[in-house]
């Protein structure tokens, strides 16, 4: 438990400290970031499908932009 709290406090201090290093992009300057072509997953239904197609044919899995379930891998 003590280790967990120390880890959490350390993480919090690091994240708070990073605030000074972060770029200053004002909310009104973020219009482009909201555009569909800037999204990591423009259409979730399409990304989920494509990730599933590769998932069942490859040994690697995880850390994709979508999540799914099941197998369909025979």
């Amino acid at each position: 438990m003590r280790k967990s709290i120390m880890l959490a406090v350390l993480g919090c201090v690091l994240v708070s400290g990073c605030a000074r290093l972060l770029p200053d992009v004002k909310p009104y300057e973020r219009e482009q970031l909201a555009d569909p072509i800037m999204s990591f997953s423009r259409d979730p239904i399409s990304d989920q499908y494509l990730d599933h197609v590769y998932d069942v044919r490859e040994g690697a899995r995880g850390a994709t932009v979508s999540q799914g379930g099941g197998c369909g891998c025979n």
Partner: protein, 388 residues
């Protein structure tokens, strides 16, 4: 050996509980960091898709539907229905069994709750085939930091699969634990980067009950032999992604370039690298075109072999666990429809995507020809999306 595998499973579960506990404490403290902009609920939208895959003697097609709707200001609910109709005469099937047809249905429901700068999501996914049932319960939390410039998310899911065999009483279980951690960072008004990590621990029956290893002095003289897999698998994947926007002659943001890289490793000694490049461009206010390339490479599992000359503790010949690489090239076109053209929606898009992927196996022999196996596949998607 069974006792050892159960012990490994228990160890993984204990480690997960400890990791989740630590992550939970970390998140509660992060939640106290002030932010000037709150996260928002996902958009209300509906998608209807037809998908088609054809390659290596396997055809998979079917519909998929995704609907999301907000309820009040702080709650959003979603539902997804997905069908795979499978017709398989793959190299594994034709060399050890008869071609078959099957159907997989997947249903998922989810609820998103918005609270301050945090979005908590709970989802349930259920997938069913004649010989396979998978149920997954997931929890995900997204939190904005530093005025919305940084987004932190973490998630946990627990899945339970039941593996069976058609026309047999055979039935075995798999337990799966996924732990995800991600961070997305705004670096400029047109540059976004992200990093994500996922650990997946499984224990139970991880074999494919229909597949066989090969036993003999050469691949061509070998005979089928039952596969045996370890009873546990623990994997880690780390992905880095970045998207940069560019202006064009007609638009301040007319094009974007994206790059994704993922490194994967697991306790079966599979190592994999995935690299993807995507270019998206507005050809007009109505048309978006996309070109993409994906490269994938993996090393074989430690207990994989094209054929075995002696009986080993673990034996596998699944080509998904062999040494191979693949190249994939694809395009996607989206046509945006305006509100005037639509009766119920604020906006909508009609989309078509085609990917061609080529798999090249280094140590998996096609026993029909005696040559290393390779095949190409076409992946088609046609879908309509509507926002309301």
């Amino acid at each position: 050996m069974v006792v050892t595998e159960q012990a490994v499973g228990r160890l993984i579960r204990r480690r997960y509980i400890r990791t989740i506990h630590q992550a939970g404490v970390l998140f509660i403290l992060f939640a106290g960091v002030p932010a000037a902009r709150a996260v928002t609920l996902p958009e209300d939208r509906a998608d209807l898709m037809y998908h088609y895959y054809d390659g290596g003697g396997v055809t998979v097609s079917g519909p998929a539907m995704l609907v999301r709707k907000s309820v009040g200001d702080n709650v959003s609910v979603s539902g997804r229905y997905y069908v795979d109709t499978i017709s398989s005469a793959s190299v594994d099937v034709v060399t050890t069994a008869s071609p078959y047809r099957d159907k997989r249905e997947e249903l998922s429901v989810g609820v998103d709750l918005l609270h301050g700068n945090s979005l908590a999501s709970v989802s349930m996914i259920s997938s069913k085939e004649r010989d396979y049932q998978a149920d997954t319960l997931g929890l995900n939390v997204t939190h904005d930091l530093f005025g919305g410039l940084t987004t932190l998310d973490f998630g946990f899911s627990n899945g339970k699969d039941t593996v069976g065999k058609v026309n047999e009483t055979f039935q075995m279980d798999i337990n799966r634990y996924n732990f995800r951690l991600g961070l997305t960072q705004v670096l400029s008004r047109s540059l976004l980067v992200g990093i994500s990590f996922e650990d997946i621990a499984e224990d139970g029956y991880l074999n494919n009950p229909y597949r066989y290893a090969r036993f003999g002095n050469s691949i061509m003289s070998s005979v089928p032999y039952p596969e045996t897999y370890p009873g546990a698998r623990d994997s880690q994947a780390v992905a880095l992604r970045a998207v940069q926007g560019f202006s064009t002659a007609s638009r301040p943001l007319g094009m974007s370039a994206r790059m994704d890289y993922r490194y994967y490793r697991d306790t079966w000694d599979v190592r994999a690298n995935t690299l993807r490049f995507t270019l998206q461009r507005y050809f007009s206010d109505r048309w978006i075109g996309e070109a993409r390339y994906r490269y994938y490479q993996q090393s074989a599992a430690s207990f994989y072999s094209d054929y075995f000359t002696e009986v080993m503790t673990y034996m596998a010949r699944d080509k998904e666990l062999s040494t191979f690489h693949s190249h994939s090239l694809g395009v996607r076109f989206s046509w945006m429809l305006s509100k005037q053209q639509l009766p119920f929606f604020n906006k909508a898009s009609l989309n078509f995507a085609h990917d061609y992927v080529y798999f090249d196996y280094q140590d998996f022999t096609d026993i029909r020809t005696g040559q290393p196996y390779s095949f190409g596949a076409n992946i088609l998607q046609l879908y309509i999306s509507g926002w309301y």
